[in-house]
Amino acid sequence: MNTQPVILETRKIVKQFPKVLANSDVSIQLHQGEILALLGENGAGKSTLMNILYGLYQPSSGEIYLHGKAVNFRSPREAIENGLGMVHQHFMLVENLTVTENIILGSEPGRGLTIDYAAARRQVKELSERYSLKVNPDSRIEDLSVGLQQRVEILKALYRKASVLILDEPTAVLTPQEVEGFFTVARRLRDDGVSIIIITHKLEEVKAISDRVYILRRGKVAGMRETSTVSKEELATLMVGREVVLTVHRTPHQRGQKPVFELKNLSVQGERGGEALRDVSLSVHPGEVLGIAGVDGNGQTELAEAIMGLRSVAAGKIIHKGELVTGLNTKKRIHRGIGCVPSDRHRHGLVLPMTISENIAMGLHRDKPNARFFSLDYPAMNSSANALIKRFDIRAPGPLTAAEQLSGGNQQKVILAREISRKPSFLLVNQPTRGLDVGAIEYIHSEILRMRDADAGVLLISLELEEIFSLADRILVLYEGQIVKELKPENSSEKEVGLYMMGGGP
């Protein structure tokens, strides 16, 4: 147990929004100099609680104690003045201002109206040296990497003399290397006496960095654990409220003899000229999941777009069920039974303001049962959407709910329901679980395997190696637009695939 004094405490915080109860009876304690994780799924009430602490929201009832004294912050300014700092998931940095300007914003040194830029620069330098958070004070934010931007955010809080630092999903946007760097920074800050709260839905993050963890579920505290004594499985169960299979079980399945989908020597131009894909050949058989591993930006987008007919092909052939489809447009490919779960569900997967039933009909909206003569057949669309809402356990009031009102996991289920219900012979799945909760990931993984077991050919593009290893029967590594290696997951390791992804290899 942590014997340090309690620095920040909430008692029975309740936050009622017009339609949802975001926090109910939330009591947590933060000790001096510890890293506390606040774990929960999207919508569990983590961010609401932190916004209450930070003075952006007022609690409906309940109290906050800082150093044993009751406080009530009516604005972020009051929270800042009391030593609270917050790093938001979406950075609060003005892109065309310099690092220095961003750090001093709102608390500028200098007398009267003007800013003493020389002093500001000096203070920022001192601060970054003291905490070993190196960053050039004169750089513009837009020129910095995401990892460095996060550093600026932390410095911004430290500049305001934060003794409690709240970090909202700090690793969501970082690369693996940057994540390591962030952990180092967080530990060093803790050792300097800063108390840290990390809000996250990632189990690995909790295990890697925190001392203690509170688990939030549906606005309530579902438990508190010492990180060293709790397993990932237990955390997942507390977070979701039922047992969660972190890695779905893949049963052996006989794949079909003849490939259902093939690429032959495919080359595709990139956005800015140059070849984004070079001489790519692959074949997907019925009843198998072929995984494409690779670091983002190595041709995944172009591959997916070429397969769906959204990007023209410079050379090579695309073959579906033995027939050439290279010249067919997207509509014809969909009608042939090629399905696609795009990587960006907001921009390409759904029309957010439209209803679930319209989103499900989309693509086949000219055909029965969605259309009759020249008009859409709404009753038929709604009833088939209703059936899919039940079958795929989509949490929504009904088929007329707008897609934008759904959580990320449920939006992905709508897309999956649309594609799977069309019984495609070949399904392209591009980053299907990006940004989703463990519960939703489990479900989507099991649906993908179910497609495979029903003898569809699945091409899975993913940036998450864990996902590739738990789903794929074969793995191809994409590097700089070329397939550099084919591997079998059972004879390989994440480490080996990672090497090929970086352009290396034994």
Partner: protein, 317 residues
């Protein structure tokens, strides 16, 4: 008259004078849009300022009081825009368009009410151009002297405002806050500075500046108010602001350029140097505006949150 003889110092003096109202509005617009509020109501604000200036100058006998009243009226009128866009979260363009229409209706109504007829008001006894003064020494510089240092009061004021607002944006705390409000309002709000206040301030500055521009039209450049006398200058100011990259100095330079186009047009009309119908020249400044914006708009970058509503859930519990 020979064609090239119209290109003389007088042409440049006229360019500055015709560019002044555009310049004032464009500086104001730059500040306003840097705070994140799009202001297309400047044409209307200018008209209100021009009308109030003349009326107060007529009744008080003092053009200076008239100018002051015009500035304040412009500021007050612009607060309607701030209220509807910032507090009521109305679309900025819709609010601006409504205020333009309202300004024309309002001034016509007040014309009839106060002067008994629409059209043009009585002429004020003393206008501000009589206070023209040459700055010693500087006004002796060839070309630049007469153009910049032998001018009327509001022209000098607009020069000063260009310098003041450049300093304000770059060096002051409030200037930094205002820029942040137009780029990433939430970043400002989360460190405890009110975005609403900054945006109200931005709109108010543009209102005061347009009020002064209106006063310039009616009681410095002219001596009476005529309905619709702003003739699109509030919109040309928007073009100057965009071409000038949302910076007071850039906006001012393009304003003078548009003033130059206007001055040239007038000379072409008056001196009939080219054998074409003179009406054709009237469109010249507007074509210059179009060309400048079409050529430059892609290169300049607007504030990121320009015209984007900012709303924060202030919990009701």
């Amino acid at each position: 008259m020979e064609f090239f003889s119209i290109f003389n110092t007088q042409l440049l003096v006229a360019a500055v004078r015709l560019g002044t109202p555009i310049m004032l509005a464009a500086i104001g617009a730059s500040i306003c849009e840097r705070s994140g509020v799009v202001n297309i109501a400047m044409e209307g604000i200018m008209i209100v300022g021009a009308f109030v200036s003349v009326t107060v100058a007529l009744y008080s006998g003092s053009p200076w009081l008239g100018m002051l009243a015009g500035v304040l009226a412009g500021g007050l009128y612009s607060l309607l825009h701030a209220f509807s866009t910032v507090s009521l979260h109305l679309d900025h363009v819709v609010s601006g368009a409504v205020l333009n229409v309202l300004a024309f209706g309002l001034t016509r109504y007040l014309m009839v009410l106060i002067y008994g007829h629409p059209g043009t008001t009585d002429v004020i006894p003393v206008n501000l151009s009589e206070y023209q003064f040459a700055i010693p020494l500087l006004s002796r510089i060839p070309v630049l002297g007469p153009v910049f240092f032998n001018q009327t009061p509001i022209v000098y004021m607009s020069f000063a405002l260009v310098i003041f607002f450049t300093w304000f944006l770059r060096k002051t705390k409030i200037g930094l806050h205002l820029r942040a409000a137009g780029e990433h309002p939430m970043a400002l709000e989360t460190i405890g500075v009110s975005v609403y206040k900054m945006r109200y301030l931005g709109v108010l500055v543009s209102g005061l500046a347009c009020g002064l521009a209106g006063a310039y039209l009616s009681i410095e450049n002219g001596a009476s108010f005529t309905e619709g006398m702003s003739s699109g200058k509030g919109f040309i100011a928007l073009a100057a602001m965009i071409s000038g990259g949302w910076n007071p100095i850039g906006a001012a330079l393009f304003s003078v350029f548009f003033g130059f186009a206007d001055a040239l047009q007038i000379r072409f009309q008056v001196f009939k140097v080219l054998a074409v119908p003179e009406e054709l020249f009237i469109i010249f400044p507007y074509i210059a505006t179009l060309a400048a914006v079409a050529g430059l708009v892609r290169r300049s970058r607007p504030p990121k949150a320009d015209g984007v509503d900012f709303i924060i859930e202030r919990a009701e519990g």
